[in-house]
Each structure stands twice: as structure tokens, then as C-alpha cells.
């Protein structure tokens, strides 16, 4: 089976129920989903539709109340804390709406940290981070503290950090939510370019129609359920 058709992620009957203040809330309700390697997919839907919850479940930051998630034929929905951390380290790259960079580290160190976690040697780390910063237009900012950067620059650092470990899947939760439209479009363009170049599967969430239109596939969520799953030409 070629990479383009290989099934990477399978969600079966996934539900996630929260009980804040003894009140049951079903954030995700019986979702079935398949993602193939190299897809560029947008999870769309209004606030509270379950986009972030679904991303957290796929990223093993949370565990489903029922159902199973398989990644490359391995069940990942009931891993221990340590095992799920190791899974995320080797397979997942996260991009958050609020960037979530380590404030005391420089741009270079923030990106390099992922490779340190992966146990990559110093020389290879230097080479790969330098190349990644060049690819994301951050070379000039390499030694700057991330707290000194603009929102767009910080999100580019977050993208570089998400990509540096060669993840199999990138999960981006409202990656343009805190950016102006120009910076947001640039970040999405960067992600799309890297998706095409490295065949990395990218799953991002958004409720912004312009950002949604940049995806190759759109999965529309409402009240924790998939109400539409469509392939679209870019820019539709």
C-alpha cells in the first residue's frame, strides 16, 4: 500500500463525557474517523462543537470515555501517562492557539528541546534546528527569547517546534486563532508546504472560513458529532 492511501489513524465510536459540577456533558459523541498518511485536514465547527476535545484525544492528552483510537495499528487510547508521553514525543507535533513556548528559552532552544527529548546528538541537533529555522524564516531570531517575539513569529516557532522531530501527525488547535489574517494565512501556507514536502499528516481545527478553505479535507463537527466529511479543492 502506498503512503498516500495508508491508513494512519482510526477512531471507532469515540465518546468523551465530562461531569463538571456533577453535570454530564458529552463533548464527543460516537465519532468514527479514518485519516490517511499525508492528508491535510481541517476540523471545522463552532465553539463547543468538540474540535479541541477530539484533537486532545487523538494526541493522547486525554482518554475517551469509550471507543478506541488506533495509530499505525497500535491502540493509543488507553496508554499510561509515561507511554503516552513517549508516543507524543515520537509521533505527534502540537501547535496551540496560544503558542505555548517555553518562555525562558530562546527560539533555537525551544525548537531544539524536542530533539533533546528524542535523544538526538548535539551535532545533528544543531544542523536540523538551523535548517528548520531557515525553512520557517526564523534564522535571524534564533537567539532571541520567545517572549520578545510578535504573535506571528511565536507561532512560526511553534510550527518549527512541531515539525523538528519529524512527527507522523501534526495536531494544530486553532493555530491562527491569535494571529491577524495575514500571519494566519502565512502559517497555514507554511504548514501546507511542509505537508506536501514531507508527507506529514496535518489535522488542524478552525472556525474561520478562510482558514477552513485552505484544507484538502474538511470534517465538520457539531455537538460532538461529525455532520459532514468532505474532500475539497484548495481555496474552496
Amino acid at each position: 500500500m502506498s503512503d498516500a492511501t495508508r491508513i494512519q489513524l482510526t477512531l471507532r465510536d469515540i465518546t468523551r463525557v465530562y461531569t463538571p459540577n456533577n453535570h454530564q456533558v458529552q463533548a464527543v459523541a460516537g465519532i468514527n474517523l479514518i485519516l490517511r498518511q499525508g492528508e491535510f485536514v481541517c476540523l471545522a465547527g463552532p465553539s463547543g462543537s468538540g474540535k479541541s476535545t477530539l484533537l486532545n484525544l487523538i494526541g493522547t492528552l486525554d482518554q475517551p470515555s469509550s471507543g478506541t483510537i488506533h495509530f499505525d495499528n497500535r491502540e493509543i487510547s488507553s496508554l499510561s501517562r509515561s507511554a503516552s508521553a513517549l508516543f507524543r514525543r515520537s509521533a505527534i507535533g502540537f501547535i496551540f492557539q496560544t503558542f505555548n513556548l517555553i518562555p525562558v528559552l530562546t527560539v533555537f532552544e525551544n525548537v531544539e528541546y524536542v530533539l533533546v527529548l528524542q535523544g538526538i546528538g548535539t551535532d545533528e541537533r544543531q544542523t536540523r534546528v538551523t535548517m528548520m529555522l531557515a525553512a520557517t524564516g526564523l534564522t535571524e531570531l534564533a537567539q532571541r527569547r520567545v517572549t520578545e517575539l510578535s504573535g506571528g513569529q511565536q507561532q512560526r516557532v511553534a510550527v518549527a517546534r512541531a515539525l523538528i522531530g519529524n512527527p507522523l501527525l501534526i495536531l494544530a488547535d486553532e493555530p491562527t486563532g491569535n494571529l491577524d489574517s495575514t500571519s494566519g494565512a502565512a502559517i497555514l501556507e507554511l504548514l501546507h508546504h511542509l505537508n506536501r514536502e514531507h508527507r506529514t499528516t496535518i489535522l488542524y481545527s478552525s472556525h474561520d472560513p478562510r482558514i477552513i478553505s485552505l484544507a484538502d479535507r474538511v470534517i465538520l463537527l457539531q455537538d460532538g458529532k461529525i455532520i459532514e466529511d468532505r474532500i475539497q479543492p484548495r481555496g474552496a
Binding site: L61, S82, F87, F96, T98, N100, V104, V114, L117
Partner: protein, 419 residues
């Protein structure tokens, strides 16, 4: 390409270095809070080291005074000797003791012949403990020679050394005559006339009123105990007492000789020192519980402020063990800075107190523990310094453990959405 999705380790040198860097920069980022925490812990370390050095100095001063007044560090007596007995009990074959002392490497020792006596001066009299001594050897054991301010310590055959206090009580001055009445080795009452050859004053009235000295030969003659001694007093570093006593006892049969160390000879002193140590340990425990609470409070605040950061690290693939190591590194760094600062300040203070000391004249009355002088000087023992630092780091580690565990158990979803 197949990738092992669950491989990797929680610890590596590069990860430790990265966490050290993050921890250090976070400490520097919150300078005021870090400074306050470090200052509080450093003050505790300072107190621990300085108090420990002062207690070491106090114990040395107490031992110097108590042991150098009369006891010495080790004593050899006849096997059936009892400190409360009044009967003169000479050592059998005292000639066997010198080779045993030489074998043990002991050079400071003094033979004594001790007996109860009655001193008669005109219409006055006093019950005293008579010690026959060899002045040159005795001077290596006790400080009575240093405390002899009038007359001579090198006693002639018809001279007696008494304290100024006893002389005043008996209405005596230098060169006055007195009569000593004793019970001889054979149980007969004997008297001898002596002139007051020297006057001493240790400052401890109870001792001064009850001790008098003759030359060893004069005492042997008076007590009809030719060449006899009842006690061999030995001086050596108190810490070596047990080992030297054991070596001596190996050479001297227990059936004939009893070898006792200062803890057995002056149990009150040993108990008082133990009490001091116990009290000090209790104070240190209280101090370091406060220190631990201070560090734990700081680290808990740190965790609370950095919920989102720990969530991010978890998302990036840092294991719970890695989070624990990061928080513990920060806690240990705070402890390390505090230990270094406190130790340096304490070393300076101890150097000053070792040179100039603290004069306790105004804080304590004359007692047997301050005969050698009332200035308390600090003695900084290197192992105490190391121990203080180990305790501080262990406290920092323990204080960081709970916040670290807490951080490692954070729900990453909640942590990432924390504002």
C-alpha cells in the same frame, strides 16, 4: 518506514542539561522570590553551621575544664577500685603500667597517690582529698600549675599546695605550717607537718576547698605506701580515649587493673554533652522543617504559575519522571545556592568566632565547665560543614518532592488551558 512509537527514555545527560538551564533561568526570572527563599534557607544553613561550631567549641571547653581540672581523659586503677571508696587502694605492680603506656603510644601521664585527709591549722580544720603528685608529670594532665598564682607548684618534701580559698578559710598564708592527718595504708592514723608552699585558685570554689597536693614521695611517706600509687591519669585527645583505653586494657590484665575513659569517670559531663546534642538536633529539626515549608511553598507557587508550561512539556512528550526531575532540579538549585551562601557566611563567622570567641562571663556563673576560661570559641569541623550542606540539599529535595509529584500528575488538557 516503521517507527517504534513508544521508545525513548525519561533521562539523558542532554535532557538533564536542558532542564538545568530551564530551572536556572526560571530562578533568575523571579529574582526577588528566589532571593527571599535562598536568603531564608541560607540563614538556616548559617545558623546550623555556626551553632554546630559553637557547640563543638563549648564541648571542647567543657572537656578541657572538667578533664583538666583533675580527671584526665583516661585513668588506670586497681581492679576493685570504686570512686566512692575512702580506703587507700594502691595499684599492684605499678612498674607494669609504663611499658603498657609506651606500647599504646601514650606520652602524657601522671602517677598519683590519693587519700582522704584532715588538714589542721590552729583551731581550724577541713576535710580534704590529698593528692600525691609528680609536679612535672601532673602539669601535662591538669591546669592546677597554671592556676598557681603564689609560691611554687614544684613542691619540696615538706611543702603542701592548697587553694587560696582554703587558705583564707583556715587563716593561712604562704609558708604557714599545717598538720595533715591521714589513715595510712595499714590503717593507722598518721600525721605530718607541712608548710604552705603554693596557693592556687581555679575559680571553682567546691574544688578549691577540697583539694590539696603533696609531692608523690611526701604522700607515699605520710601514707606509709612506699613506691605505691593509687591512680594513673592519662591525657590524650578525648576522641581517641576509647581506642587507647582498649589498647591499654589489652596490655593490662582486667583482673588487676581497670582502665576507664572520661565518659565513665565524669558521666555527668558526657550526659550533659549528649543533652546538648539532643537539644541541638531538635532545634535543627524545627529549623529545617521551616526551611522545607519555605521551599515547598516557593515550589508550589512555581508549579501554580507554570501550569501551562508543564502542560506544554507533557504535550511535547516529557514523561512524568521528566517533569519530576525538572521541578526537583529547580528545588535542588535553590537549596544549592542557599547552602553555598549560608556556608560561606558561616565559614566567615566561624573564623571570627574561632579567633575572638564570645565571652560568657556575663552569661554564666563559675562552674566546673569553664575553669579553663570563659571565652567560648567556635570549632568548625569539616565533616559538620559537609553534613550541614547534605542536610540542606536533602531538605530541598524532600521539599521539592511533593510539588514535583503534583506537577507530574497535572491533567495536560487542564494545564494547557490554564490562564
Amino acid at each position: 518506514m516503521t517507527r517504534n512509537l513508544l521508545s525513548g527514555s525519561s533521562f539523558s545527560l542532554a535532557l538533564f542539561t536542558a532542564h538545568l538551564q530551564i530551572a536556572l533561568r526560571n530562578i533568575l526570572r523571579h529574582r526577588r522570590r528566589s532571593l527571599l527563599t535562598v536568603a531564608a534557607v541560607a540563614f538556616s544553613v548559617f545558623c546550623l553551621i555556626v551553632f554546630q561550631a559553637l557547640i563543638a567549641g563549648l564541648h571542647q571547653k567543657m572537656m578541657e575544664s572538667a578533664l583538666n581540672l583533675d580527671t584526665g581523659v583516661i585513668q588506670i586503677h586497681a581492679a576493685d577500685f570504686n570512686r566512692n571508696q575512702t580506703r587507700l587502694l594502691p595499684l599492684a605492680n605499678p612498674g607494669a603500667i609504663a611499658p603498657a603506656l609506651a606500647t599504646a603510644g601514650i606520652t602524657s601521664f601522671a602517677p598519683r597517690l590519693k587519700a582522704q585527709a584532715l588538714i589542721l591549722a590552729g583551731r581550724h580544720s577541713a576535710s580534704v582529698l590529698l593528692s600525691g603528685i609528680n609536679p612535672s608529670q601532673e602539669a601535662t594532665i591538669t591546669l592546677v600549675r597554671q592556676k598557681t598564682s603564689q609560691g611554687t607548684y614544684q613542691l619540696g618534701p615538706d611543702q603542701i599546695l592548697i587553694s587560696k580559698g582554703l587558705a583564707e578559710a583556715l587563716g593561712l598564708t604562704l609558708n604557714d605550717s599545717i598538720t595533715l592527718m591521714v589513715q595510712s595504708l595499714f590503717g593507722q592514723t598518721r600525721t605530718g607537718r607541712f608548710t604552705v608552699g603554693g596557693l592556687f585558685a581555679t575559680g571553682l570554689e567546691s574544688f578549691d576547698q577540697s583539694h590539696v597536693y603533696l609531692s608523690l614521695t611526701a604522700a607515699q611517706t605520710l601514707l606509709e605506701a612506699e613506691d605505691a600509687i593509687s591512680e594513673m591519669a592519662i591525657s590524650c585527645p578525648p576522641a581517641q580515649a576509647a581506642e587507647l583505653a582498649a589498647r591499654l586494657q589489652q596490655s593490662l590484665p582486667a583482673a588487676t587493673y581497670q582502665v576507664k575513659v572520661w565518659q565513665e569517670l565524669v558521666p555527668d559531663l558526657a550526659q550533659l554533652m549528649e543533652l546538648n546534642d539532643a537539644t541541638f538536633r531538635l532545634l535543627i529539626l524545627i529549623l529545617f522543617v521551616i526551611v522545607a515549608m519555605g521551599i515547598a511553598n516557593t515550589m508550589t507557587t512555581v508549579i501554580f504559575e507554570r501550569f501551562r508550561e508543564f502542560g506544554t512539556l507533557t504535550a511535547l512528550g516529557v514523561t512524568p519522571g521528566g517533569i519530576v526531575s525538572l521541578v526537583m532540579t529547580e528545588s535542588l538549585l535553590l537549596g544549592l545556592f542557599a547552602a553555598l551562601t549560608g556556608s560561606l557566611a558561616a565559614i566567615g563567622a566561624c573564623a571570627y568566632l574561632a579567633r575572638y570567641g564570645i565571652d560568657l562571663t556575663h552569661f554564666t556563673s563559675a562552674n566546673q565547665y569553664f575553669v579553663a576560661g570563659s571565652v567560648l570559641k567556635a570549632i568548625l569541623i569539616p565533616s559538620d560543614l559537609v553534613l550541614a550542606n547534605v542536610i540542606t540539599l536533602a531538605t530541598a529535595a524532600m521539599a521539592g518532592l511533593y510539588p514535583a509529584w503534583k506537577a507530574s500528575r497535572l491533567n495536560p488538557v487542564k494545564a494547557l488551558s490554564h490562564v
